[in-house]
């Protein structure tokens, strides 16, 4: 892979991570992370939508009039999200029942809008595609980390499979399944990640 793409990927996943660095796309990060299976489907949706939206916006960037570009971007995003919605409903109807509204909300996920506006509207299609992919992966990495902790602490399971001999020694932290647990976990993640960034900046 040529070096500019590697840099875009690294920026998106680590140093410019959408969740803890740019604080975008928080809503879904909190809502779907109570079970790892939900999270995986959500991540698939976001990666799909952000990659293809970035690509499409970039291809069309010289044809969209400046004044109405927001609404055009929203419509592009909405079309891809609709596809994701239909795909998830077909593959996993049970999961769709729970995360359905949040899948629809990928439309207003600021990560996608933000990257389309900040990167894709000024860059060539291929780098934009990689940038979208990188942001989607960065988002997914943080979400999966949160989901693993929340599912283990909250239910004593991982991907629905119980921990070994869970009933003998494990006490479930009900709080982790409820909304406050999501806020605390995300706060701790942001804290850890930012503390490292501060250290690196001062070193």
């Amino acid at each position: 892979m040529p070096s500019p793409y590697t840099k875009i990927l690294k920026d998106g996943i680590l140093s410019e991570n959408p969740i803890y660095r740019q604080v975008l796309g928080i809503c879904s990060a909190l809502a779907v992370t109570n079970l790892l299976a939900n999270t995986l489907f959500m991540c698939f949706g976001v990666i799909f939508a952000t990659t293809l939206t970035n690509f499409t916006v970039s291809v069309l960037r010289n044809h969209i009039p400046k004044r109405i570009r927001m609404i055009v971007q929203v419509i592009i995003i909405a079309s891809y999200v609709m596809m994701v919605d239909i795909i998830i409903r077909a593959l996993a109807p049970d999961i769709h029942r729970f995360i359905g509204p949040y899948v629809g909300l990928i439309i207003t996920n600021c990560i996608i809008m933000g990257r389309a506006e900040a990167f894709a509207s000024q860059n060539k299609p291929m780098p934009s595609l990689v940038d979208g992919l990188a942001c989607g992966l960065g988002y997914s990495a943080v979400l999966i980390a949160i989901a693993v902790v929340r599912e283990i602490l909250g239910f004593g399971t991982l991907l629905g499979v119980a921990l070994p001999a869970r009933d003998l020694w494990w006490t479930q932290w009900t709080i982790m399944v409820m909304p406050p647990g999501a806020f605390f976990m995300l706060a701790i993640m942001t804290w850890l990640a930012r503390a490292r960034l501060v250290k690196e900046a001062s070193a």
């Binding site: 604080v23 609404i71 909405a78 406050p180």
Partner: protein, 202 residues
């Protein structure tokens, strides 16, 4: 669900309003509208401004989207287009409101003006319209749900704004400043609102 149908109009209206505002708070229990909340809640006045705009827009768009869904999308059998239709309705509505306010009242425009474009990308608005579809509401009840949801968001962001104004004075670890501490505050508030849950079932 039958209980809602048996009740008088105003009783079910009030019940749905309270449930949407407190037991099912859109920000603290459904996690919607977090991005603009984290960005704007630094001060109480701006929180109130954005909160008021959100109440107005959610109440109106949930009613509008209800009509569009029931009388246009369902009869034509194109419910799967709802995402794109809803977002266009919301974007068009906020644009329209912005133009009307600009004409009618300069003062209100200056107070609300910057918040209106933010609202289009506020997921709470689209979220309320989508959650509304999961429940068998009538038109009046859908309006109550939108109004209550907007009010709940207003309440949460105003409280968070007030706490953040105070916390500005405190010295925090560098990594925790900004979003970190705000998330912890919201988490503690969410704990309080969990106390409401189960009081009303809709």
């Amino acid at each position: 669900m039958t209980a809602l149908g048996d009740m008088g109009f105003w009783a079910s209206f009030a019940l749905i309003f309270v449930a949407a505002a407190f037991t099912d708070n859109i920000l603290l229990a459904r996690f919607l509208g977090m991005c603009s909340c984290l960005g704007v809640s630094r001060k109480v006045d701006t929180s109130i401004g954005l909160g008021a705009a959100v109440i107005f827009v959610t109440a109106s768009t949930s009613a509008l989207n209800y009509l569009v869904y029931t009388y246009l999308l369902l009869p034509l059998g194109i419910e799967y287009l709802r995402l794109i239709v809803f977002i266009v309705v919301i974007a068009a509505f906020t644009q329209l409101v912005e133009m009307v306010i600009e004409r009618v009242s300069e003062k209100l425009y200056n107070a609300l003006g910057i918040f209106l474009p933010l609202i289009t990308v506020n997921c709470a608005i689209l979220g309320i319209s989508l959650f509304m579809l999961n429940k068998p509401y009538s038109f009046g009840q859908a309006f109550a749900f939108g109004l209550g949801g907007g009010f709940g968001w207003f309440l949460a962001i105003t409280l968070i704004g007030a706490i953040r104004e105070r916390i500005n004075e405190a010295s925090l670890p560098r990594g925790l400043e900004g979003p970190g501490i705000t998330l912890i505050i919201i988490g503690i508030m969410a704990l309080g609102f969990v106390g409401f849950s189960g009081m009303i079932k809709i």
